[in-house]
Symmetry: D2
Subunit: 352 residues, 4 copies
């Protein structure tokens, strides 16, 4: 779901690096990888000659789809794949060309492209998360012994060390980092089910072909299609939403500390006000709160999208496409904002 041209909202809330992963060009490149891997798999199962497959794959590499026409056709088809495959079929020729897309269906391409995109998104987030944790460790080393008033239920409580509040910020991020391998394991699965999910066109060759595709794409083949069971998408989205939540807590704290003043937090480079130029608004902190609440709401919608009826749900898939890219971008924008926030904090707490 996109709103064209909102430049300033986009720069305030978007993530250009992650957005690029979701652009048509990137998604269609993923489709091409799938179609190539499928040909390899069909060759492995003896459904197409190996040389023929190689020749077709070479042609796929030179395919430049007409993206405008694909976007247009998607409105009536509900997916970009039929028009993509039509164009691709026009592009390739030679023996075995009729085996292109054989046994596959639109959802196989779209879902697998989504998986590849989530894997890349997670890699980007993982690097930024490392950076943020490092920044928090450095801050703890620098300011950890400073004094703060603990605040419980919006009341000053006992004295604590800054290290204590910083641990409350850092530990959840470390826990999220520790869970990443398990999340990747859940997420990085091949979607391959064919027209109705049971790979019936490939009969006994189905497993051979599926394993070959998975191996070529660096994904796991779970032994069956998951076209109506969206656990991989939920796993990625949940992790990202928890990340946004953990960052939102940091943002909420930082905003309250900024309000309490310099004994709590010394910020540089906060936002300026058009009416009160002297203020240093904790803009990055506020953005983190907004991002957390945004992704929390989207996550509810992702769970709504779990109800894929029968063998394939166009409604539920469309809902996922409207939400999932935004969850990714918002998680990414949050990490960038949190790193910026850390860089803008000159000091936390009061030196004793």
């Amino acid at each position: 779901m996109t709103t064209d041209g909102e430049g300033w909202i986009k720069s305030l809330t978007g993530d250009a690096e992650i957005a690029a992963l979701f652009c048509d060009q990137a998604q269609l490149a993923s489709f091409a990888r799938f179609e190539s891997a499928l040909l390899l798999g069909l060759a492995k199962a003896g459904r197409i000659d190996k040389q023929d497959a190689a020749a077709l794959i070479a042609q796929i590499k030179t395919f430049a789809p007409a993206t405008g026409r694909i976007a247009e056709a998607a409105v009536s088809d509900g997916v970009p794949v039929p028009e993509y495959v039509r164009q691709l079929r026009n592009h390739v020729s030679g023996p075995g060309a009729e085996k292109l897309h054989f046994g596959a269906t639109s959802q196989d391409l779209v879902d697998t492209a989504t998986i590849e995109t989530l894997a890349k998104t997670i890699s980007i987030l993982s690097k930024r998360l490392d950076q943020l944790i490092t920044a928090l460790e450095a801050m703890t080393a620098r300011d950890g012994n400073n004094a703060l008033k603990a605040i419980t239920r919006m009341q000053e409580a006992l004295n604590i060390r800054a290290s204590s509040r910083l641990a409350g910020w850092r530990l959840p991020l470390e826990a999220l980092r520790d869970r990443l391998p398990a999340v990747r394991e859940q997420v990085m699965v091949l979607q391959f089910g064919g027209a109705v999910g049971d790979l019936q066109t490939l009969s006994d060759d189905a497993d051979t072909v599926a394993k070959a595709i998975a191996s070529d794409l660096g994904l796991r083949w779970p032994g069956h299609s998951w076209q109506t069971s969206r656990a991989p998408l939920i796993a990625a989205a949940s992790w990202m939403t928890e990340l946004s939540g953990a960052l939102g807590k940091i943002g909420q704290d930082a905003a309250i500390m900024a309000l309490r003043g310099k004994s709590d937090l010394e910020l540089s480079g906060g936002g300026t006000s058009s009416a009160m130029p002297h203020k240093q608004n904790p803009v990055a902190a506020e953005r983190l709160v907004a991002f957390a609440r945004f992704n929390a709401s989207q996550m509810g919608a992702m769970h709504q999208a779990q109800l894929h009826e029968m063998e394939r749900s166009g409604a539920a898939m469309t809902l996922e496409w409207m939400i999932l890219p935004q969850i990714c971008e918002t998680a990414g924008a949050g990490l960038t904002a949190a790193i910026a926030l850390m860089q803008s904090i000159n000091r936390i707490g009061t030196r004793s």
Copy 2:
């Protein structure tokens, strides 16, 4: 919140006409109208000479802001206005130039621009809604006497006329249309509060200036700023979400009817399948379901964004900016899809 370049998702779920209303150019044009109207108001209150105001307004008309720089500055400022006003101040000169933006604050410009955008969105939606109702009336005239099986709790019940189901589609849309004047009345209010919401800089002239701005912009002045009370935004978003819900019900019905077959519904131009070219998928109907569920979730988030703390909440405003444009686009895309769906229905029910 936008994800750049998702061409096919954008064409499937977005609304180019409404998206254009939210683009920087349109929003900054709204800022310019506000600043001009403010000068008129200040002139009316005797705070600036009328000729001087007119001369400045003439200069504002020729102002072409550097949008890239504004988008960039928004990241640290949290709003596009400080940089916009800085550029505008550089652009204008002459007596009274120091009165530019006098008494106003960033939120006044951004909120009022949002109001203007919502008003334009509602006008677009209103026209399309009329079209859709007309299409439903025509379908009722054509097919109303046809026979259908009523379906209650997913079981065939008694026989009904097609007109009965069509009334279930049309009446909620008519009710939404009937409520539009009241919604417009709630929505079309000027935001004007100054630095902290009480217009203190303008003291006794506040009301004079506010009324003049409102009159110039064709908005209502409610007598006070509503910077932390978001009823106008909620009113617009609620109406649009209800609209999406009413369309989603139509889509859900049409999808079930398409599944039940030609005695219920004869569709032309449904979506094609990459694996089963003979199918006619009810893509427009599925999209309506997805749009309804999407906006329902966003509406929950809009209510979350009601908690504007103290005199101005950067967090809550940012959250609104991430959600509101999407609710507008999704409502618009839904009407377009519903009109297309009606056009693709050759017949509802069985002729007796």
Copy 3:
């Protein structure tokens, strides 16, 4: 949706007065009113003798349904009505007894009972809202001239009068009060559609019967059933959610003010802490924030429940029943908590 026996959570977050409106006894009393009004309507249309109807209505008055058995049967029937009607048929006898429930369906009783309950809930909320507004007016009279620091984007801004912040609390509540007549008008509609929504069993008498029922119950007859178009429920729930949001903003502010200390807010009777007995936690304020976020989420779910498929949706109705009573209770609990909060505020701002 209820969780039995959570005494302390219930006392912290529930509303006993409103909960009582949703209890079986109250709902079944509403069913009885409907069945009686239906007999009156059938008599008016000449479908039953007036004396016979009166005799049956007299018997309905003495009917004490076996609620346990009804709750049990609801699990398989999905609604309490079939078993209720079965018991009622056993209870009444005499000429015309076969006309009991004639032309009506389960949803007519359940929806109309919901409408009656919402009307009573709104009356309760309206009284409490008046009380709260009065308390805010009194506080403004007492403390309005006191000085506060305005806080914008979590930074101290300019000096304001306490009256300014109090206006930010009171004005949205007044606006909600002003909208109540329109909300009541939208909400207080009779549901009457019969088996499949078109009142076909009553043919030409449908309107006569419907108007008589509506008149007897003090409701409006919109001219048609609204069984799959839930605008009346959405209208009530939206108003309550906005109310919770407006109270949540007050709570959020009060909590921040309590944190800032006695120059902002002097509270008495705040919550005690098991570990730090000296604290005065702004518990009522925190509850208001929780209630606002709770109802915001539930409101998203109410919009999800708009998708009633075909002529009757058991799934969507069940979802409504899980959510709507909670929105009502939470709105009510919020008003009670807000009134308590006002009573506990000894002073806002600093006397000059």
Copy 4:
């Protein structure tokens, strides 16, 4: 959050067995276990004599708290613990009695009680999940070779075996079962942080005491308090919401199959209609859809509740208490309904 006395809604949507785990009596019993374990821990650290601790623990066993008074005090305290501890202190006496609750805080008791409740809930759900999977295996053995039309995008597609659709129901449940050990590991952690989360009152003994409490309660001590980082609650709630989603997909499918008729599904014991006694409504299936959409919305709210500000958030905790018990009950009610649905399915698909 509870609505007292909604008998029939409760029986339709609640889960009495799980509700009982959340009742005051069960929660206060958990508090007692915590206070006893704490005394053991203090004894281990030499902060209290072992005999004295044992004597106090014996007295705790006979403590019968006045629950009404606790529920009442919770309104002003925001938690039930201060009044509970006050009563408990009155109940116990003897040497070391002053060490009761030493080093602990309200949230330690409430959170740990929640953890114990979640562990018990998961055990209940796990057993029912096994039952449901067994039922699906039996159905596959009985009907797996029957023929069905696959339905993709609400259109009939190719022929499939019933085993294929049943696999789409069963595999996600098996995956959820496989993830249970990891979920339990994430969930079953002791909360222990003291007044401000750093266990400062216990200084060097903190770890000794914490480990002893954890060991006594059969929980894991993660090495630090997690009072503002709610990953354990999110892990449990996410798993339950995914479960509800997987069940909702089954319900959605079964409802569509029931509509398509006996070649798809033969149901016995469906719901009766007050107006059309011949129908067999797929009530259990509809409930599953409602439960899935309900929990999806609640899960969004759980993520909203992640923003615990500073060292303790009364607002966020209250929000959790309003939501988490409902997610648990709804997940439980869903499993019960799904098992009932399976029992009511006489046949899936058409025998060849």
